[in-house]
Amino acid sequence: MMSKEADLLKLTVTEHKLANGLEVCLMPKPNFHQTFAMFATKYGSIDNEFVIDGRKRRVPDGIAHFLEHKMFEDEHVDVFAQFAAHGASVNAFTTFDETAYYFSCTSDVKDNLNTLLDFVQRIYLTDENVEKEKGIIAQEIRMGDDNPDRRAFMELLAAMYRQHPVRIDIAGSVESIYQITRSDLLDCYTTFYHPSNMVLVVVGGFDPEEMLTWIEQNQSRKTFGKAPVIERLYPPEPATPASRWQEVRLSVAQPRCLIGWKEAHGTSTGKELLRQEMLTGVVLDVLFGKTSSIYTELLDAGLIDKGFSWEYELTEHYGYTVIGGNSPDPHTLADRIAQYVTHVRAAGIDADAFERARKKAIGRFVMSLDQNAYLAKTYLTYRLRGASFLETVDALTSLSLADANRRLDEHLREESRVVSLILPNQAAG
């Protein structure tokens, strides 16, 4: 399969579905030294309730991330050492809806690919190695507790969502991870790590046909049971936020202020998801980017600093916008932004600004194709959500000013707005 954009962008992508259900996406880049491979399951922190063998399971918070840590454990080999022996660097991450394992290397691609596929497709858990991990993850959680940007963001989602597990920290809490048992982890592994729930993306300097054969051979050596029918259970989520205002005190010099808008619902079709992401991104760039009137005004008033930024996330089940950053006077900032959004919603979006933001998004997309790791990760995340990242230029060129005004009107509504503040505690200063 090759898309039109890919052709224009001098990038060939081939997608294959193997007999066991695994999706393989290959993006060869001739003359590159590096190969970057990412192997991911559509399984993240929000999948904490599901049906397995007709039995409903509610597992402790943070288990997807805990499982990510434990996958590196093997009875016979040291996974890190195996990669190091072939000059690869390996790592992994867990998000709300995805767990991904990846390596980067400049030699021995096939050996490293085998190691990646093998360590993720084999689990070795003992009561002892599960216990051992708890101290390490507890320190990871403590590190996050000291990070004001992360705290502000998680508190914002906790305020935004009443029921949906996106409100829970990806790593869980120190209390919840100490409840996790070997059998909980095995249940999750069996349910979510079947090849039919996974995608492998490889970008870099390799021959695609040879690579595909190699991957097929690796997979044909293993047997997997029948693909489980995964039934994920998410509680019903009202369109409006749980609370409008959240404050936490931490040892910080600069207060943080994040303002978010909750989408009433997610989007399940891939094409529409990509389009809505691009459209909302253009709207947010026009409204809050460095070329907006409000950016200069807030900077002049001393209410923000140059780290002020926006982001937008959309999945099948939830979506949200977040803007903000450091602010010495977060209450005034939140008020001023609320007034500004009311004003822009009435006045509409400037046509020139819209066109400029759209062109900028095209240019930034083109440059992102040079970043192999970013390309693999973004392509994969969209793929798991049913969308194709390489259709970005198409999606951007299809947008109109009327679309942008409609999006602004339906999304940035006063009743879906939430504020999260991190304020200095008494000891600070």
Binding site: L8, L9, K10, K29, N31, F32, Q34, D78, A81, A84, A85, H86, S89, V90, N91, S104, C105, T106, S107, G135, I136, Q139, R142, M143, D145, D146, N147, P148, L250, S251, V252, A253, Q254, K290, T291, S292, S293, Y295, L299, D300, G302, D305, K306, N326, P328, R356, A357, K359, K360, A361, I362, G363, R364, V366, M367, D370, N372, V393, A427, A428
Partner: protein, 427 residues
């Protein structure tokens, strides 16, 4: 490794490296100056100010609009520090959008980039009184906020204590107490001083159609504004090994959930030294990777930390260990860290550790060959450390390093500073 072509005049140098297969063209101009307490706060402001407006585009808004009009050409400024040198940089990433737009964006983008650095006169654009006052306030907040990122703050504190009394200990952002003494006229004077003294290195890397003309136009622009004269000789900044082997212990308090334990060691070896490959191998075996001794013993075997790394500063030759732990585990963590170093000193290094570290370093450096911006950084690092190292040659040197040489490097280093950031109630 492909080498850069160079055009030079006086203190100004343009380095060019064609690189096909990319859609991004990278141009950057880096000015470096020796840090001194008197000038550094004003210098630290400048990169943050330049994007506030030029004479032609007098506000951030009009300047950024001009960039966005070039298909989102990303123009940025940054403030760096390497040892006792300040590095002030302006850079542009220019997308190849030939499939939607006729003609090249390069010339306009390079013009804009030069304007960000040079198109300033006293009292105008970013040197307007109100804009300078605004930036002074932002800069005060920037300095204050540095302590909000506990892990990097702790490492910086440890490093500054370890290098006390040398220019390398001076703070990248400058001093908050200097800010009230600055105004638009003084900052403009500092800007002129900078152009008068700094050495400039510009880099042009990526799929450029016509390197020579872009390069010579850029050099002309640099020399017009900066004039002639020669750059300052790069001073050796490697801190000598300690004669009296006493460790300076500093504990500071903050209301943190996790304590930060950072250790600094003087190695006496810098980037330009012949022993540098041996030091790289030693650091890799000690704590540079996920197969390293620190990761295995502090994290995997004893579950004390999530983060534990060792890190080399090429300029000063300082080796730092950083880890985030529970406060009551300080003594245990310290014992385990020192034990790993002792094992290296005693040559307790498995064949696998040698092989894995060599291969991991190969991967780390070979990847740079795919990244134009990284190659520019590599080259500039060579300039600031007084020696250009070829990546291929470095890999050959690394392969030759022996267990005994690594042990010898480890035997010669001693801890100079122990820094601990923790909660008061645990003290």
């Amino acid at each position: 490794m492909d080498s850069f072509q160079k055009l030079s005049a006086g203190r100004c140098h343009v380095h060019m490296l064609p690189h096909a297969g990319f859609r991004t063209k990278e141009v950057s101009i880096r000015l470096h100056v020796r840090m001194d307490a008197q000038h550094l706060t004003a210098y630290a402001l400048l990169p943050h100010m330049w994007m506030n407006g030029t004479d032609k585009f007098p506000s951030t808004r009009s300047l950024t609009t001009a960039c966005d009009d070039l298909y989102g050409t990303s123009v940025r400024t940054s403030l760096g520090k390497r040892g006792g040198y300040h590095i002030l940089e302006v850079s542009a990433s220019i997308p190849d959008v030939s499939f939607v737009e006729e003609g090249s964006l390069v010339e306009r983008a390079v013009d804009l980039l030069c304007d960000v650095l040079f198109d300033h006169s006293e009292g105008h654009g970013c040197f307007d009184d109100a804009l300078v006052q605004r930036e002074l306030d932002l800069h005060r907040r920037r300095i204050e906020a540095a302590r909000d990122e506990k892990m990097s703050f702790a490492l910086q504190r440890c490093f500054a204590i370890a290098c006390e009394g040398t220019p390398a200990a001076l703070p990248r952002l400058g001093f908050a107490e200097e800010l009230p003494k600055l105004d638009a006229a003084r900052v403009f004077a500092a800007y002129e001083e900078l152009l008068h003294h700094a050495e400039a290195h510009a880099y042009i890397v990526g799929p450029f159609a016509d390197f020579e003309s872009v390069g010579s136009a850029l050099l002309q622009r640099l020399t017009e504004k900066m004039g002639g004269g020669s750059g300052a000789l790069i001073e050796r900044e490697v801190l000598p090994r300690l004669e009296n082997r006493s460790v300076r212990e500093v504990t500071e308090y903050d209301d943190v959930h996790q304590s930060q334990l950072d250790l600094a060691y003087r190695t006496g070896i810098g980037y330009a030294d012949p022993e540098y490959p041996q030091l790289l191998m030693m650091n890799g075996i000690f704590g540079g990777f996920a197969h390293s001794k620190l990761f295995i013993h502090v994290r995997e075997r004893n579950s004390l930390a999530y983060t534990v790394w060792s890190h080399l500063d090429q300029t000063t030759g300082m080796l730092a260990v950083m880890t985030g732990i529970s406060p009551e585990k300080r003594a245990q963590a310290l014992t385990i860290i020192e034990q790993q170093l002792d094992d290296i000193r005693n040559g307790k290094i498995a064949d696998e550790e040698l092989a894995y570290t060599y291969r991991s370093l190969c991967n780390q450096y070979t990847v740079l060959l795919d990244q134009p911006a990284a190659l520019a950084n590599w080259h500039h690092q060579g300039i600031l450390c007084g020696r250009q190292r070829d990546i291929d040659e470095l890999l050959i040197d690394l392969e030759r390093v022996t267990r005994d040489e690594i042990a010898k490097v480890a035997q010669a280093i001693e801890m100079s500073t122990l820094y601990f950031l923790t909660r008061k109630d645990e003290a």
